[in-house]
Amino acid sequence: MGTLIQSVDWIAIAPPVIAAAAALVVLVVDLFVSDTRKPLLGWLTVGGLVLAGLSLLPLLDGDRSTFCLTVRGGDCSYVADHFTIVVQLLVIGGALLTALLSMHTMAADELPAGEYWFLLLSSASGAALLPASRDLTTLIIALEVASLPAFALVGIKRGDRLSSEAALKFFLSSVAATAVTLLGVSFLYAATGTLHLTSLAHGLTTVDPRLDTLAKAGAALTLVGFAFKLAVAPFHFWVPDTYTGAPLPIAAYLSVVGKAAGFSGLILVTVVALKPYADVWGPAVAVLAALTMTVGNAAALRQRPDAPRSAVRLLAWSSIGQAGYLLVPIAAAAYAGTDEIGTTIAYALMYGAVNLGAFAVAALVARSAPENRLTDYRGLYARRPLAALSLAFFLLCLAGLPPGVIGLFAKVAVFSSAVHAGLGWLAVIMALNVVVALVYYLRWTALLFTKSPEPAAVILPLTAPLTAAIALSAVLGIALSGAPQLVLRFATGGLL
C-alpha cells in the first residue's frame, strides 16, 4: 500500500486557481486604494482573467489529471482534457467580456467596486473548476462556488427593490435545486459506493437489484441542479426576473458563464457518470430540450416592446430558447455516442460570443435610456451606425441567418446531431422554434433601422471598455463566420 497523499499538478489547475487568487488580491487591494482610483480594481480583474486565459496554453496538448486516488484504480478528481480546456476558455472569455462591460456600469450604478470584482472572480473560478471536476463532490462544490457569489452579484444594487427581489428569488430557487441534487448524489453514493464519475458509471452496471430504484431516483435528482443552472424548463422561472433585476453585466454573465457551468455539469453527469442509464435520460433530455426551446421562444415572442426593461427580458427568454438548442446534442449523445456533445460546446462558443455582444450593445443603449425598452432601440442606426450594425449582426447570429453565418452553421451542426441520432421529431420541433425565434430577433433588428419619430436622445460618448467589449464580440463573430471550422471542429468529437 503506497502513500495516501495525492500529488498536485499545479499547471493543470492553474486556470481556476489564478482566478481565485486574483479574487483575493482584488479584495485586499480594495482596502488600500482610494475611492478615486477604484477603476484600478477593474483592470486588475481583467489582468487576472487574461492571465487565467493564458494559463490554458500549456494545457493545449491534452490530457492532464491531478488529485488522483493512490489506491483503487486511481480515479482522478480533476482532469484537464480538451473538454475542460474549451469550456474553461468559454468561461474565462465570458468573464473577461463581462468585466469589460462592468467597468462601464460600475461608475453609472455606483456599485461597490471591491466586493463586485471579488465576487465576479470567485464565481468565474468556480465555473472554471466545474468542467474539470470528475467526482460528484467537486462538481457540487464547483457549482456552489459559481453560484453563491452570483446571488450576491444579482442583489448588489443597493437600495434597488427589483435587484434584491431578483437576488432572493434566484437564491431560494437555486438552493432548493442544489438540495435536490445533493439528495440525488447521496442516493447514487448509497447505490454504488463511489463518487468518482467513471467508477460511478461502472458501478451502475452492477447495482444490487434491490437498490436499482434508489440509483435511478438518484440519477434523476442529480440532474435537477444542473438543469436549474442551465435554465431548462420547467426550472426556468427564475431567469427573466433575475436577469432584469440584476445589473446588466451580471445578466450577461449568467446567460453565458452560468449556462456554461450548467451544461458542462450536465454533460459530465449524463454522458460520463450516468452512461449506463442513457436509455433513461436520453429521451428525458430530448423532451426537456423541446420543452425548453418552445417555452423560451414562445415567451420571447410575447414580450411587449414598450414595457420597461423589455430588451433584457427578451434576451432572458431568448437565452432559455437557446438553452433548449444546447440540450439537443446532449440528448443525441444518448443515442449516437459521446462525440455528439462537441456540438453543444461549439454552439455554446458561438452563443457566448454573440450573446455577450448583444448585452454589450444593450449596456450602451442603457446609458442614454436607462429603462432599456425595445422601443429605445428605434433608429439606433442613425445615431450609432456601428453599434447598430453589430447588434443586428449578433441578433442574426442568434437567429441563425446570414450574414450571421456562424450562427447558421452552429444550428446546422445541432440539427445534424439530432438527425444523426434519429431524433427526427426533435429536429422538426427545433425547426419550428427557429422560425418562431426569427420573428422576435428580426423585429428587434428591424427596429434598429427604423426612423425614430422623436428627436434623437442625447448621445453619451462611448467608453473604452465598452467599445472593446462590442468590438471583441463583433470581431469574433465575423472571424468565425468566415472560418466556422474554428469552433465547429469541436463538433466532430474527441473532447471527452
Partner: protein, 522 residues
C-alpha cells in the same frame, strides 16, 4: 478559354457583389463623389451589377458549349471539414442561363433605380441589399454543395425582407414578415432533408450524389428527404397551396423588389428540384411526382381563376397582385414539367423558368411604371368605366404592356410558348412507372389553364390599353410615355423574349444534355 480564368470568373460573380455591398456602405472615395451622395451610391450599384453582368457574359462566352452536361469552371476547396462542407462551385447548361438571367435582371433593376429610386430611406442600404441579394442568388445557382446551397438559399432572405419592409408600399411590414417566415420555415425543413442525405450518403457534394443517382440511399431515406426538401423548395417556387406569401409580398414590394422576386428568387425553388431532387433522390421523386403534378395543375387553374377575378370590373383588383397570381400559374407549368420526370418536361420547365423571368420581370417593370404615373395599380382606378386607353395616350407604353401580356399568355414565337408547350408535351407521355392516365388529365387541365390565362391577360389588355381616350383623359389628364431610362431597362427583356421565342434551340441546346445526364441516362 482557360479553365483557371473561368474558375476565377465564376468565383468573382459570387464575391464581387458582396464586396460591392460593403463598398456601398462606405463613404464614396474622392473623385467618385458624383453630384450627391445618393447619386454616387446608385451609380456604384449600376457599376457593380454591370461588372457582374459583364463577368457572367464572359462566363457564357467561355463556356464550352459542346459539353454543356459537364461541370465547368469548377472550384473545390475544403471549408468546414467538421461538417464536411466544401466550397464547390461550378456551372453547367442548367445553371448558366439562370446565372446570366440573374446578373441581367439585377443590372436592369440597378439602372432603373438609378433614375427612379423607390420612396424610402437612403439609397445606400438599398444598393447594398440589392447587391447582397444578387450574390445570394448567383451563389444558389453556382454552388455544388448541399450545405452551401442552403446557405445561399438563406442569404437572400434578409435583403429581400428589408427591401420589402423598407421600400415597399402598403402593408409592407406584414408582407415582408410573412415572406421571410414562410420561406424560412420551408428552408429549415429543407435543411433537415439535406442533412439526412448528407449523413446517410456521407457527402454533401452534389456532383458525387448526382452521379450515384441515389444508389447509396435507402428507399425510406429517399422518400423522407424528397418530401422535406420538396416542401422547402415548393414554398419558394411557390407551389399551390404553399403560395399564400407570394401575392402579398409582390403587392407590397417596390418595383425592383417584385422584378427580382419573380424573376430570379422563385427560380431558386424550381432549380432545386431539378438540381437536387431529381438526380439525388430519384425513387423519392418517382413516388411524389404525381402529387407534385397534381398540385402544379391546381396551381395553374387557381392562379388563372384568381387573376380572372381580379381582372373583372368593379372588384378593385390590383394589377400588381394580378401579375403575382399569374406567377403562381406560370410556376405551375414549370412544376408540371418537372413532375413528368422526362427530359422533354424538364427542358420545358427550365425554358419556362427563363421565359417567366424575362416576361414577368418586364410586366412588373411596366406595372411599376404605371404605378409611378397613376399613383396606384388599382385596375378600376386605372381603367375607369371605359378603359385607360394607353394605346391612344401613351402608345409605346400600351404597346409594351400588350407585348408583355401576349408573351405571358404563351403566343407562339415568343418565349412564353416553348416552355409551357414542352411541359404539357412531357406530361402527355410521362416517364415510365408514372400513371399515364393521371398525367393525361394533368395535360388536359393545364391546357384548359392556358385558355384561362389568355382570357385574363386579354381582359387586362382590353381594360388598360384600349378604351376611349377622351373619357380617360378627363380623369387623368397627363400621362408620360416611355422614358429613355425605361427603354434602357426594358429593351433587353423584350429582345430576349423575342430571341428565345424564335430560337429556342439556343437554350434547349444548353439544357438538354445536362438534363439527360441528371436523369441518369448517358
Amino acid at each position: 478559354m482557360n479553365d483557371t480564368v473561368m474558375q476565377y470568373l465564376l468565383a468573382a460573380t459570387v464575391v464581387l457583389p458582396l464586396l460591392g455591398a460593403v463598398g456601398a456602405l462606405l463613404p464614396p472615395p474622392p473623385g467618385l463623389k458624383g453630384k450627391s451622395p445618393d447619386q454616387a451610391v446608385l451609380r456604384h450599384g449600376v457599376t457593380v451589377t454591370g461588372a457582374v453582368l459583364a463577368l457572367s457574359i464572359a462566363l457564357a462566352a467561355g463556356f464550352d458549349h459542346d459539353h454543356p452536361a459537364t461541370m465547368q469552371a469548377t472550384t473545390d476547396i475544403s471549408w468546414i471539414p467538421a461538417l464536411g462542407i466544401r466550397i464547390h462551385l461550378g456551372i453547367d447548361g442548367i445553371s448558366l442561363p439562370l446565372l446570366v438571367l440573374t446578373a441581367l435582371l439585377t443590372f436592369l433593376c440597378a439602372v432603373y433605380s438609378y433614375f427612379k429610386m423607390p420612396a424610402g430611406p437612403s439609397p445606400k442600404a438599398f444598393v447594398a441589399l440589392i447587391l447582397v441579394l444578387e450574390s445570394g442568388t448567383i451563389a444558389t445557382f453556382a454552388v455544388l454543395d448541399l450545405m452551401l446551397f442552403f446557405l445561399a438559399f438563406e442569404v437572400v432572405l434578409i435583403p429581400m425582407y428589408f427591401l420589402i419592409a423598407r421600400w415597399g408600399g402598403e402593408g409592407r411590414e406584414r408582407s415582408a414578415l410573412r415572406f421571410i417566415l414562410y420561406t424560412l420555415l420551408g428552408s429549415v425543413v429543407m435543411l433537415l432533408g439535406l442533412l439526412l442525405i448528407g449523413l446517410k450518403a456521407g457527402t454533401f457534394d452534389m456532383v458525387t450524389l448526382a452521379t450515384d443517382n441515389g444508389s447509396h440511399l435507402s428507399h425510406t431515406t429517399q422518400l423522407l428527404a424528397a418530401l422535406s426538401i420538396g416542401l422547402g423548395l415548393a414554398v419558394k417556387a411557390p407551389m399551390w397551396p404553399l403560395h399564400s406569401w407570394l401575392p402579398d409580398a409582390h403587392t407590397s414590394a417596390p418595383t425592383v423588389g417584385s422584378v427580382l422576386l419573380a424573376g430570379v428568387l422563385l427560380k431558386m425553388g424550381t432549380y432545386g428540384f431539378v438540381r437536387i431532387l431529381i438526380p439525388i433522390t430519384p425513387e423519392g421523386m418517382q413516388t411524389f411526382a404525381p402529387y407534385l403534378g397534381a398540385f402544379a395543375v391546381i396551381g395553374i387553374i387557381y392562379g388563372s381563376l384568381a387573376c380572372l377575378a381580379l381582372a373583372r370590373q368593379g372588384t378593385g383588383g390590383d394589377l400588381k397582385r394580378l401579375i403575382a397570381y399569374s406567377s403562381v400559374g406560370h410556376m405551375g407549368f414549370v412544376l408540371l414539367g418537372i413532375a413528368t420526370l422526362t427530359a422533354t418536361g424538364i427542358n420545358g420547365a427550365l425554358f419556362a423558368n427563363i421565359a417567366h423571368g424575362l416576361i414577368t420581370g418586364l410586366l412588373f417593370f411596366l406595372v411599376g411604371s404605371l404605378k409611378d404615373r397613376y399613383g396606384s395599380t388599382d385596375l378600376d382606378r386605372l381603367a375607369g368605366q371605359t378603359g385607360a386607353a394607353l394605346y391612344g395616350r401613351a402608345p409605346r407604353l400600351g404597346g409594351l404592356l400588350a407585348f408583355g401580356a401576349v408573351a405571358s399568355l404563351g403566343l407562339p414565337g415568343l418565349a412564353g410558348f416553348w416552355g409551357e408547350m414542352l411541359a404539357m408535351f412531357g406530361a402527355f407521355k410521362p416517364a415510365e412507372g408514372l400513371d399515364r392516365g393521371a398525367y393525361l388529365t394533368f395535360t388536359a387541365i393545364a391546357a384548359f389553364g392556358t385558355l384561362l390565362t389568355a382570357a385574363y391577360l386579354l381582359v387586362v389588355v382590353r381594360r388598360v390599353c384600349m378604351g376611349e381616350k377622351a373619357t380617360a383623359e378627363a380623369t387623368e389628364p397627363l400621362l408620360a410615355d416611355v422614358q429613355g431610362y425605361e427603354f434602357a431597362a426594358w429593351t433587353p427583356l423584350v429582345a430576349l423574349t423575342v430571341i428565345a421565342g424564335l430560337w429556342p434551340a439556343l437554350l434547349l441546346g444548353l439544357t438538354d444534355p445536362a438534363v439527360r445526364t441528371l436523369l441518369g441516362g448517358s
